[in-house]
Amino acid sequence: MRAIKRRFGKLTATALLALILGLGLGIGAPPQLRASVCEEALFRCLDDFFNQVLGPFGTVYCGIGFAFCKKYIDPEG
């Protein structure tokens, strides 16, 4: 890192470090972190206390939200 700082300057070295860290996080992230907007909404819904209490009905409630999200909202479809 010192050699990079000497050669390219402190700012460039910091940017390089940030890039490496960012790439590392992206590659190592669990699927949930890379999930689309609809998957994230579904996880939040399923984790909700009231939906867990509702059991299968809570799953239906969350599931229909996921289906409509995929159909209407997710730009990736």
């Binding site: 949930q32 229909i64 939200g65 159909k71 209407y72 730009p75």
Partner: protein, 319 residues
């Protein structure tokens, strides 16, 4: 389903409006669209994110707006006429407005998390909430106040119900394929032909089916080359990954228009035009991605543009 109920569905369908004579059915080689009307856009506040669309016999256009929590009415020329609804859970209010259907002077709307179907008159006056035993995934009005709805079940499979105007279930059949194990793989949209037969397009399965009024399978076909539904296992749930078909509608000649989802070559734009036997007659792409298709009694096609800010109306041209 007995013959009496089949006759009821046929009578209801007959009340839907004019039918173009069978002998004038064009032989299709190519289908193209010509834009005739555009409602809403980035420069005005007509629509924010429309979800459901329906049309009446006079050509008026009814639209549900999810971000405005409202039902809006536009004239045949696209002029804004009226709006009703606001965010809430009271009569005529919406939390997540989704599906819309029209029959005669009645407009039927659904809210994503409500076990029921809202009925409005043509002036957007709220009439009542028709009870429904489950959450509604897809909705069609058959005429004479008869409704058909695909509803989500759990742990039971999704079902297709035919109901009278009071919400009494007249007939039903399951939509699931017992071979498919996974959440929501039975999610589907559907359309009815004038013989009372159902065309069913699955949201997360590469499958379009034709079924009789009693649910007997006439044919089932795949069009996207997906042998097994794509799922992702997350938190012990097999979650469907990609949409296959987003909607299905019939034109005035009985051709079946199926809107492809993410797995289509042009995601949410490709439309497969099928014959009554499921054979592909033509394929075309919408100018912009859409989540639904609606074809009115005059054979105009309606689809989304600008991610829901705009509703486009097209003339369907057959070559």
């Amino acid at each position: 389903m007995n013959k009496r109920i089949s006759a009821l569905i046929l009578a209801a369908l007959a009340a839907l409006g004019p039918v173009i004579a069978a002998d004038s059915v064009p032989a299709i080689r190519k289908v193209t669209l010509e834009e005739v009307l555009s409602i809403g856009g980035t420069q005005d506040a007509s629509l924010f994110q429309w979800t459901g669309v329906a049309t009446d016999a006079a050509g008026n256009i009814y639209v549900l707006d999810a971000l405005d929590f409202s039902l809006k009415k536009f004239g045949p020329d696209g002029r804004f006429l009226k709006k009703t609804g606001r965010k809430g859970q009271g009569p005529g209010e919406f939390m997540a407005p989704r599906l819309l259907a029209c029959s005669g002077s009645r407009i039927y709307a659904t809210d994503q998390n409500v076990f029921g179907i809202f009925e409005f008159d043509a002036d957007l006056g709220f009439i009542r909430r028709i009870p429904c035993p489950a959450l509604v995934l897809s909705l069609r009005a058959l005429g004479d106040g008869t409704l058909a709805a695909a509803v989500l079940g759990m742990p039971d499979p999704a079902r297709l119900l035919v109901m009278d105007g009071q919400g009494k279930v007249l007939s039903e059949f399951p939509l699931a394929d017992p071979r498919d194990k996974g959440l929501l793989l039975d999610s589907a949209g559907f359309a009815l032909d004038r013989q009372g037969q159902f065309y069913i397009a699955y949201l997360f399965r590469d499958r379009v089916e034709k079924r009789t009024a009693s649910g007997a399978l006439l044919w089932g076909r795949s069009y996207l080359g997906q042998k097994v539904p794509a799922t992702t296992d997350v938190q012990t749930i097999a979650l469907p990954r990609d949409t296959c078909f987003k909607d299905v509608a019939l034109d005035a000649f009985g051709h079946v228009f199926v809107l492809g989802g993410k797995l289509a070559r042009n995601p949410s734009r490709d439309v497969y035009v099928l014959g009554a036997d499921g054979a592909i007659l033509a394929t075309f792409a919408l100018p912009e991605p859409s989540h639904c298709l609606h074809i009115d009694a005059r054979n105009y096609l309606y689809a989304r543009a600008n991610e829901g800010l705009t509703l486009k109306k097209y003339r369907i041209l057959y070559d």
